[in-house]
C-alpha cells in the first residue's frame, strides 16, 4: 500500500514516490515532538515508579493497599475523560487551578495549550498521570520476588541502604526495568490520543503533532492512504531500530543476564 496512490475506485503503483515525500518539514516536526515525548515519558515512567515501588515495599510503610489502589485509579480512566479534566485544570484563564498555583508561587499565568514547551508538558503530564500506577504495580510485583536471604547477607556484610538497592534490589528487578522502558518507548512512538484531547487534529504551529497524528491527518483526513502508509512504515523502522539499540544498551542480549 505504501507503494500505491490510493484514490476511491482507483489504485496505481507509483513505486517509492510516497517515500520520497515523507521527509518533509511537517514530518520532522512530528518526529521531533514524538521523540521528545518518548524521552521524557521513558525517564518519568521508569524512574519514578521504581522509586515509589521501593518505598511502598518498605516494611515500615503503612496502608499499602490503600495507596496502591489510589495510585492505580487513573489507569481506569479513558484518555478523553482524563483529557477533559486536564483541560480544566490547565485552563487558559487566570483562575484555572494550575494558573492559580503559578500565581500563588509568584509566577505569571500561562496559556498552557498555546506554547510548545507547555503543550509538551501537558501531554507528558497526562501520560505520566495515567500510567504511573500501572508501572508501580509491575515493580511491586517484581519486588515480591527478590530473595530475602540476599538482604540478610547484605546486612551481615554491613551494607547501607543505597548499597543494598544497588547490588541486591536493582539486579533482581532489572528485567522489569528493561521491559517497562521498552514498552514505554514503543507506546510513546504510538502516541496520538494525548495530543488529540488537547488539540483535536490541529494544534497551533503543530506543537502537538505526533507521527501517528500525521498518519491520521494524511491518511484519513486528506485521504492520501498510500502516503500515510509510507509514514507508517518509516515509523515502524524507527521503532524497530530504537528498540534494538535500547535492548542492546540495557544488556538484554547478553547471555546469562
Amino acid at each position: 500500500m505504501s507503494f500505491q496512490r490510493v484514490l476511491p475506485g482507483q489504485i496505481d503503483y507509483i513505486g517509492t514516490a510516497n517515500y520520497s515525500r515523507v521527509f518533509n518539514p511537517t514530518f520532522y516536526t512530528a518526529l521531533q515532538n514524538t521523540t521528545i515525548y518518548v524521552i521524557l515519558t521513558v525517564i518519568i515512567l521508569t524512574a519514578l515508579p521504581l522509586i515509589f515501588a521501593v518505598f511502598l515495599n518498605n516494611r515500615l510503610m503503612k496502608f499499602t493497599n490503600f495507596f496502591r489502589a489510589a495510585i492505580f485509579i487513573p489507569a481506569l480512566t479513558s484518555v478523553i475523560v482524563a483529557g477533559t479534566i486536564f483541560r480544566m485544570i490547565f485552563g487558559d484563564s487566570d483562575t484555572a487551578i494550575a494558573n492559580q498555583f503559578l500565581t500563588f508561587i509568584g509566577l505569571s499565568p500561562i496559556e498552557w495549550r498555546y506554547g510548545a514547551a507547555s503543550g509538551m508538558f501537558l501531554m507528558v503530564v497526562l501520560a505520566s498521570w495515567r500510567w504511573m500506577g500501572v508501572n508501580i504495580l509491575y515493580f511491586l510485583a517484581a519486588l515480591q520476588n527478590v530473595n530475602n536471604d540476599l538482604y540478610e547477607a547484605a546486612d551481615i556484610d554491613g551494607a547501607n541502604v543505597w548499597q543494598k538497592f544497588r547490588h541486591v534490589t536493582f539486579p533482581a528487578i532489572k528485567p522489569v526495568v528493561i521491559f517497562l522502558s521498552t514498552i514505554t518507548t514503543i507506546n510513546g512512538f504510538r502516541m496520538f490520543e494525548e495530543s488529540f484531547v488537547f488539540w483535536e487534529t490541529s494544534s497551533p504551529g503543530n506543537i502537538g503533532l505526533t507521527v501517528v497524528g500525521y498518519i491520521y491527518q494524511e491518511g484519513i483526513q486528506r485521504n492520501d492512504m498510500g502516503f500515510g502508509a509510507a509514514v507508517g512504515i518509516v515509523l515502524l523502522i524507527i521503532i524497530f531500530i530504537v528498540s534494538i539499540i535500547q535492548l542492546y544498551l540495557t544488556g538484554a542480549f547478553k547471555k546469562g543476564d
Binding site: 515500615l60 479513558s78 475523560v81 484563564s93 483562575t95 510485583a141 521491559f179 512512538f189 504510538r190
Partner: protein, 281 residues
Amino acid sequence: MEKALKEKIISGLLLVLFMFVAFVALFPVISLVVASLSPASDLMRYGLSAELFLSAFDFQNYTAIFGAEGGAYWQWYLNSIIISAVLIVLSLFFSSMVGYALALYEFKGKRLVFLLVLLILMIPFEILMLPLFRMMTSFGLVDSYLAVMLPLIVAPIAVFFFRQYSLGLPKELMESARVDGCTEYGIFFRIMAPLMLPSFAAMAILQGLTSWNNFLWPLLVLRSNDIFTLPIGLATLLTPYGNNYQILFSGSVLSIIPIIILFLFFQRFFIAGLTTGGVKG
C-alpha cells in the same frame, strides 16, 4: 539515635510522601466529580476551569443525562457495553484456545505461529490502521459494530499471555483424561479452562479496559452519532463551540463506573496476571 525512633520517623515521612502522591493521583478524579456536581454557571464563570470546592450542590448535570438530552449519551453507553462485552467473550475464547494449543500441543509450524504472534505483538496497531481501514471499507463494514470489533477479536498480547500461563498447566491431567476417553475439546473446556480461571480474569480486565477506553480505531471506523462508543461520543462534546459541558462532566463520571466495577470484581487476579505476561518479556 534509637532504632525505634528512627523507624517511626521514616514511617511518618513515607506516609506523608504517599499521601501527597495519592492526592496527586486522585485530585483530577475528585475535581471531575466536583465539576459534575456544580451548576453550569459556576463552571463557565471565568471560562472553563476546575474548582477545588463545591460552591453550590447541584444535580442539574445528572438530571440532564437522565432526561431527554441524554438520549444520545445512553445510546453510546449501550454501544460501548455491547462492543466491550462481545470483545471480552470472543477474545478470551479464541485467544485462550490458541495460547493453550501453542503451549501444550505438538504440531507442524508451531514455532512459526508463535513467532508470528510475537512479531504482530511488536507492530503497533497504529501502523496497521490504514490497511485495516481500507479492508473495512472494501467489506462495506464502515460504521458498524463489526468494524470496531473484527481487528481486535484475537489479541496477540492475550495469545502470548495464555501461552505463558498454559505452560504451567499439569500435562499429566491431559494424559489421564485421554485414557478415560475424554475428547480434546472436553479436556480443554472441562479440565484445563477451569484451571486457567485466574488468567481469564486477568485478561478480562485487560481486554475490557482496552476496549472500553479504545479511541483511535473507533474514531476511524465510526461515522454516525447513534453508533459511537462512549469515548468517541464524549470527544464530540469536547468542541470549543458546543455547550454540552453539562453532559460531558456527569457523563464522564458515569463512564468510569463500569470499568471500576470490572476491576474490583477481578482485581485479585489482575496483579498476578500482569507479571506472568510481563516479567518474562
